[in-house]
Point group: C2
DNA sequence: CTGTAATCTACCCAATTGGGTAGTGCTTTA
DNA sequence: TAAAGCACTACCCAATTGGGTAGATTACAG
């Protein structure tokens, strides 16, 4: 029983090349190729594929949006993006949309087959550069804004939704002191409201 | 010129096995092995290694903390975690600490060498399961809390630090309407302050 | 057609927050 | 020893926000 693969790619020669490679394997089979998402989505249930190779730049709805729609109907679908985009925003959008993997189009046949296998093994095949980007996204660079220890304490409490009174209680200092620290925090973060301070602290990973 | 590798692993037979494998290659060389981070950090500059294989469970400071410290001194160090932990918190902590890769200890010699090569190619070698976890972390499951379109508008504006007055101006509705929507939002999110609402919206990916 | 949900507006009052000024005391660094 | 930074407290006032009540309009589904 071969795993069914659907290719969604508007570059027909490339699509055909993928299909040819995949059909040489003895555990994968391309059961349909489309040059747009709309058609592929219509035939979703009919094709009943387990893996989708998805281009991003497509006529009509793009690959990221298409991924969302396919995952909505077929949550178990494994969708591997195959694209030239290495732009971080596109990569993260695709992953957020539900892509299981992300390959750049420079891949060779062997890599493609490896990726398919990794995919059905429950993995997340990624090109080297993509893996690096993804891992890099966890490595938050330390902010250049420096808060004192006490300021961090106060801001953390604030971010948890505490009022000045609660913060004062929790930190065993007076409410006035909370205000004092907040004022300094606002200056350091260049904001002038509690929400902005918390949002900026989130963004800058200050807590 | 071989790439210098340092192994930090308190399981000596395992450490020796890694070293043996690595030393069979013609582009990597284990220049030192340690059974704790402290010693490795002391000898950082002396060893001048480009790749570190780091265990997580170590006597004294653990591998995650050790990774932070090494990256602080040697930002260019490539640190690959090699560990039995597949617990998501540990994985993400390690990546946040600056690890370039994350392998589980079930790896075979070939995988180890592949990982080293991928690492010096600027990649992020990961075991299949880890890659899946990392990619999965992007796929935020949609919240079950449902806000109306207008409520989302208001909450988004609020999260950007706007006051009720600004939001009213931006959305061309009265300040009272902002209050009205906020009240409903607070009920739906089960909070009772602007910060809590914004934080919860962030957490639940409501915007 | 009727009810329900969403959107919109208004008014009132109490509580919270933001901004300013003015001090004290402690520790670290120059 | 002086200066600088951090932590702390107090008081005042204006602005903002939270909670309650009351009502209007539109749109959509049963």
């Amino acid at each position: 029983m071969k795993h069914k693969v659907v290719i969604i790619e508007d570059n027909i020669p490339l699509s055909d090349a993928f299909a040819e490679v995949i059909n040489t394997t003895n555990n994968f089979q391309v059961i349909n190729s489309y040059d747009n998402c709309e058609e592929a989505i219509e035939r979703l249930k009919f094709d009943n594929a387990s893996i989708f190779l998805m281009d991003i730049e497509l006529p009509g709805i793009n690959g990221v949006e298409g991924t969302k729609q396919i995952k909505k109907i077929f949550p178990k679908a494994n969708i591997i993006m195959v694209t030239v985009y290495e732009n971080s925003e596109v990569v993260f959008d695709a992953l957020c949309a539900g892509a299981s993997g992300y390959l750049t189009k420079s891949l060779n046949p062997e890599e493609l087959i490896d990726a398919l296998n990794e995919c059905i093994d429950g993995g997340a095949p990624m090109s080297i550069k993509i893996a690096k980007m993804v891992v890099g996204s966890f490595q938050k660079k330390p902010s250049k804004i420096e808060l004192s220890k006490r300021e961090k304490d106060v801001l953390l409490q604030l971010s948890e939704g505490n009022s000045y009174d609660s913060i004062a209680e929790n930190l065993f200092i007076s409410k006035n002191t909370i205000k004092f620290h907040l004022k300094n925090i606002y200056i350091k973060l260049q904001v002038n409201s509690n929400i902005e301070a918390v949002q900026k602290a989130n963004k800058e990973n200050l807590l």
